[in-house]
Amino acid sequence: MATQLEPDIHADEDAFRTEVQQFLAANFPDELKNKGNALAGVDGPTDETPAQKAWREAVGERGWGTPTWPKQYGGGGLTKAQAKIIDQEFAKAGAYNPIGGMGVMMFGPTLLEYGSEEQKMEHIPPICRGEIRWCQGYSEPNAGSDLANLQTFAEDKGDHYIVNGQKTWTSGGQWADKCFAIVRTDKSDKHRGISFMLIDMDAPGVEVRPITMISGTSPFCETFFDNVKVPKENLVGEEGQGWTIGKRLLQHERTNISGGGRLASMMGQSLGDIAKKYGETDAAGELADKVLRDKIADFEIRWNSFLLTARRAVEESKAQGGVSEISSVLKKLGTKLSQERSELLIEIRGLQGLGWEGEEFTDGELEAVRGWLFGKATTIYGGSTEIQNNIIAKRVLGMLDHQ
């Protein structure tokens, strides 16, 4: 392990790039090349190979998995430009960022904004080192799109709360160490009766049951709280501030679902190229099925204009120093187009593209089927498309201003 260097934010970019390259050469094991980050997802347990563990620890020690987070909490303390260099160099080396999951994507940024000093010191460093997996306790059986209707109740017992109720769609709940949850502390006020608190998943009274989805996987759980004791220091912000904090966190979630770069690289292979492998071509080398060809081109043109829109949202936000109003359309567009792509892939492959299991199907074919099914969730969770439309109409278009 190389000596830990104090990153100099004034160092010029070339020097930093060299530093990242040297770090990769010294620490990134070949056997992990072009593999994904198993721990960042919600669909797998936490078993790590020794190589994965060593790589996670190497990145975590420098805080480079959360490069722009403050150094005093274990982040990299780097500039955005330096973070971009890390992204670029990791990508070039075929290296994944081993620090991920909901702690990085959603909870961490929210806690940095709303948490107390003690809470940040306690919870942020383990996230930066990839040691703790977080899950989200938001939805309930009767609080989906109408999230503020949640009923899980935290009763004030002086120095602690006693929590009773049920959460659902808890992503990765069966593998999580801790849960950030919004719960009711006051039954008399729908929105201001909600508080944001942190619950240990191994606390007595917490029970987790995985839900099998139409895709055959169980990335979500039902989580039951039966007289679970939560110390008061686990309350984030003030009592009753939970709705505000919880909504802020959802903004981070949507940014991640609409996904700029990751989604783009996932969609890398041209559907036209795939279709040429599965179908006939004519003398000109074009797809013989002209109707399908038209559908693919129609999709790819719209997919491109979506990617251009995602890029424009970033550029505008940077130039304005605030969130661009077109950011509001990225979630609904990105998820809809991803679903369309999955459907087209099935049309291209025919029944060969609907395999459930078996060696007659390639891994890619089987994964596409599961992805197609699981992808139906993307327009429902994180604020359904209908909720996105409400938000656009109200906040961007001002359609309720004259009520």
Binding site: L287, N304, N390, A393, L397, Q403
Partner: protein
Amino acid sequence: MAVLNEEQEMLRDMARDWATNESPVTEFRKVRANGEPHAYNKDAYATMAEMGWAGVIIPEDHGGSDFGFLSAGLVVEELGKTLTASPLIATTIAASAIVLGGSDEQKAKWLPKLASGETVATLAVDESAHHDPSAIEASVSGGKLTGKKAFVHEAHGADLFVVAAKDGLYLVEKGDGVSLTTRKLTDQRSHADVNFDGAAADKLEGGGDSLLDDVLDRARVLTAAEMLGMAQQVFDTTLDYLKQRVQFNQVLATFQALQHRMADLFADLAQMRSAVEAGLQAVDGGFGVARAATIAKAEANRVLHTISNQGIQLHGGIGMTDEYDVGFYLKRARVLESAWGSSSYLKDRYAKLASY
């Protein structure tokens, strides 16, 4: 909106002020009422040229400002918002052909006049009601061009035609051997079938084999910029209308069915703007132009088609009246959707460029 530099912002603001104050849709109504075949106000075009708008893509040593296509698109978008009738786009497209393919002599002869507004020019490619640059029959023999061009934009005001013949692009001045048959289209602008019968033709020798495609891509992005202005205007006008109109004792904007439709149109419009601006920027950057221009025009076609229809539907009965402007956008929209590539043409082109 793309992130602009200071000079681009000034240009856009100037165009916006002028279009709003000097060239609102009432000016287009006057042009229509006058019924002149060239279908634009020549004084207004002279003013536009004086402001430098005809020379935005023309090099400085030929009398232009060389600001580029994104800048030209900003002006065109503002003019599209108010349906300003002018040969600005046609002349700019023609000028781009001379910039790309002209000799020093041709450039020196024509570009300053195009930039100053003294000469109006247009591009004549298609020979039927559909855009098809692969089906050109016009030919040149001994410096004389013979052939028929269909539905040529701004033909009546044009002093100079950039004409696609089998073996390349030619400059043909109006006069002997050039005759027009007016084709009155629903947008009430200037369109004509142009018959070239042994007209003197001066070939654009530069630009290589891809000259026609390169010029057409410039035509696509500029046309898409006009369409973007139109789509934005219909969207804004419709949204304002929904916020004012009361039915069932309720402002229409408070109905969720209409909110969600507007949210969809807002997302469509965002995609259209991204695609169009990227197309203009690709021309300026000189990279990936064919693909970017195809995406730009295809998205412009798709979104303006939807928005122009929804503009009528959401206005209800008043949208069906000639007194109301929204119908003008619908009629102009379909003409421009057809120009330089319909949606089906462009999808085919996209697939060809991607080798499937």
